[in-house]
């Protein structure tokens, strides 16, 4: 009976830390340029979401004060 294939300790540690390594696998298939473009699209989205959140809380704060 064969022993199960051992998992590299580094891969195990990253998985335990919460990394979804399938994302890394996807990145490694891409060219370096594609990795940068995909990253920048994610960064842009994150910035837009942050702005939307700031705008939402800026508008909702006075209303919350009035409701008290």
């Amino acid at each position: 009976m064969q022993a199960p294939p051992s998992i590299d300790p580094a891969i195990e540690a990253a998985t335990e830390a919460g990394f979804d390594l399938s994302l890394v696998d996807c990145n490694l298939i891409l060219s370096p340029e594609e990795r940068l473009l995909r990253h920048d699209a994610a960064l842009e989205l994150a910035q837009e979401l942050r702005k939307a959140g700031e705008s939402h809380y800026a508008q909702s704060t006075p209303a919350a004060t009035t409701a008290r």
Partner: protein, 160 residues
């Protein structure tokens, strides 16, 4: 608008000698983590500073750490020795460091850097082992977490 790759492209077009470091180098190596800025290591000679000014001239570069966000196009005067630059531009944030904690200066980084073709240029990028060393030297929680992913990437590359 955050287009860090456009900043990188401008640096390469301007023929500045630099090494990509930090989280953006991690992305080039395959990291899934999103970073807010482009970090590079370069020798901040008067010539390189002039090239940087020219490269970012129409992107409104400012010193983001200064209270009044002084324009990089005006400050500091030419021939002022600089160790680091922390800039904000229309296309995002770029930090230019003359040394990297745990590793050393540009020449040290360049020695082990990998050459990666990006947008028609061969760009020097900090090697994966050096990036791990640098992040461990910084030692913040977020860097140590990033190291776990970088080590997994190194393991995957070794397996393939």
């Amino acid at each position: 608008m955050h287009n860090l790759h456009l900043l990188l492209q401008r640096l390469a077009d301007a023929q500045i000698d630099f090494v990509v470091i930090g989280g953006y180098a991690g992305v080039l190596h395959g990291s899934s983590l999103v970073t807010n800025d482009l970090d590079i290591c370069a020798v901040l000679t008067a010539e390189n500073i002039a090239k940087l000014r020219q490269a970012f001239a129409n992107l409104h570069p400012v010193h983001r750490m200064t209270h009044k966000k002084l324009s990089f196009l005006d400050v500091p005067p030419d021939d002022t020795p600089l160790k680091n630059l922390y800039l904000e531009t229309d296309n995002g944030i770029i930090d230019v460091l003359s040394t990297v904690l745990g590793l050393g200066d540009y020449s040290r980084l360049r020695k082990h850097a990998v050459e990666i073709p990006i947008f028609g240029h061969l760009c020097s990028v900090i090697s994966l082992p050096d990036l791990i060393t640098a992040k461990e030297a910084i030692g913040r929680e977020k860097d140590l977490l990033a190291v776990k992913e970088l080590r997994a990437i190194a393991a995957k590359r070794a397996q393939s």
